[in-house]
Chain length 320, copies 2
DNA sequence: TTGTAAGCGTTATCAC
DNA sequence: GTGATAACGCTTACAA
């Protein structure tokens, strides 16, 4: 920068102003720009971050980025941050609380301007000096949580299955013991069934158990090649997909005999079709909301919990 | 840091040394650590980066991160960087050369310690002052390129299809006009066919055309409900998947009448099964190699091009 | 070993 | 508007 100033024959401060869009005489500006171009000068963001303690960087903490739901969400979040001139520093913590904590530490050191986290560890300690937004997990009133309307989605699934003629429903839930907004899918489903007067059963499992107990359950509830249930709601598309595969391998026709609805709205490839019939999470709005809340000017009155509307989409596992 | 020094009753330099793992008297170290803990002190990476011009940050430039192949690759790259104590700054440029250039600019300003780029713009100008590794596209001898053995994969596909009894092969290629290692898939396939003396045709399309010309071609080459070809190699799993869907909708049985092999090795979900029979890219080794080459101590003799072995995996679109 | 002091590249505050 | 100067928080010779 000093060199640029010398080359342009102006003072240091002037160069700084040019690069910050502050008012500067036009002739000066041009000379500075020419000199910078000639010398291939770029402002050093580290020096800038040090001095201005504003880094235009946001940290994204997620379990991973290979799963299509997370990947897509991360992609949209990036777009939104980029649009506003922010960079994205990624931390992938798996489902390991230890890694989570490490990420938080890193975030602290790196003086990012904000954190968007999709994580479940209950004891996540957040430095409230730095803007923080959570996706899918409610921590406390001080930390805005952005989530899909999981409860409403559960209800919608029950309603859809009932509409499609199902009389005997089943809910499959698998997931970590960690609490989060997604848990409400089951609650919404149960409420929906009760409201509609439809009979239903619930099977809850933990991550460690894998899918086998589900499969065993399905086998146990077969009689004369016919499943006891004619509609199944699964907590995720992944589970729904595997249940579909299992049923078909057992000779059960999907969706003719049993209809299945999943949750997430994952695409096979980009935009062409769903794995299963599903309750679609509004991934893009989710991303936009998270960024917008994180970067909002007035952080005094932020929403504690923001639920975005979901929708139903037909994949291959329901009649309509 | 000054506060920590005061609290611990030591000099500034001592505190610095403690946080850099440099030799320091044990009693001092403990006092410093206690003081830091008490004051909740974290070293400021921006100040550190400014002074030491080492940021322990690597930039990853990719088209996107929502596509399962890119997402998975990014995930593995993250793991590898994390293992070595590096952070990952992500830049998603779609397939827009303009965005690419912007990313490169950003990278420059941000004084990252290295760049891993999966991008195709032919005029990408790289600042050779900063370690740069390319994935899937060869730029020049100065820039190491890590890629799958695309040529060998093409050959393998031809060989597999021939082994499985195919007599009349077809190669479908869709993609941007931008050159890159993946182009070699077709070349390898053709070479394989020639070597084996199998008859084959090739259909090449550009991205903008979409899949329709393929579908039309397939329809035109049907006679009496039978396709003229009994084996198809597609440049990606995505294309293969869509071709499979199309053929099935046309009443052609896959894999009984026509066998299809794709390229990439994308999973339906995490680890359970492939979309189609496929030539699997070694995603994890690719990530490891990229990071390892990027961060290698001796940058004087780096490989110009490094091709990693691919393998064949049966999905649902071949007989074996 | 420890303490001191000089910068790293910017930005912000002033007088001019 | 412009230009000198002091910070920002840290690393690293170098002297003690």
């Amino acid at each position: 920068m000093k060199d640029v100033a010398k080359e342009a024959g102006v003072a240091l401060g002037t160069v700084s102003k040019v690069f910050n869009g502050l008012p500067v005489g036009d002739s000066y500006r041009q000379r500075v720009e020419a000199a910078a171009e000639k010398l291939g000068y770029r402002v050093n963001n580290y020096a800038r971050g040090l001095r201005a303690s504003k880094t235009f960087t946001v940290a994204l903490i997620m379990p991973n980025i290979g799963h299509p739901f997370f990947g897509t969400l991360a992609d949209y979040i990036y777009q939104e941050l980029d649009r506003r001139g922010y960079k994205m520093l990624v931390f992938l913590a798996g489902y390991d609380p230890e890694a989570e904590r490490k990420s938080i530490q890193m975030v602290r050191q790196n003086k990012v301007d904000g954190v968007i986290a999709l994580s479940y560890p209950p004891d996540l300690e957040v430095d409230d000096s730095i803007p923080f937004v959570s996706i899918d997990r409610y921590f406390s009133a001080g930390i805005p949580c952005i989530a899909s309307d999981n409860y409403g989605g559960g209800q919608l699934a029950a309603q859809k299955l009932a509409e499609l003629g199902c009389k005997r429903l089943l809910f499959f839930r698998i997931g970590s013991v960690m609490p989060g907004e997604p848990d409400k899918r089951g609650a919404g489903f149960e409420a929906g069934c009760q409201m509609l007067g439809v009979q239903y059963d619930v099977l809850r499992l933990n991550d460690e158990d894998g899918m086998d107990p589900f499969f065993r359950y399905l086998e146990e509830h077969m009689a004369d090649g016919k499943l006891e249930y004619d509609g199944i709601f699964c907590c995720t598309d992944h589970v729904a997909y595997r249940v579909m595969l299992k049923l078909r391998s057992m000779g059960v026709r999907v969706p003719e005999d049993v209809q299945i609805i999943g949750f997430d709205g994952i695409h096979v490839f980009d935009g062409d079709g769903f794995f299963v019939s599903t309750i679609v999470q509004p991934v893009k709005p989710l991303a936009e909301a998270a960024v917008s809340v994180l970067l909002s000017e007035d952080r005094s009155k932020l929403p504690a919990l923001m639920c975005l509307p979901v929708s139903y989409a037909k994949g291959g596992t329901t009649k309509d």
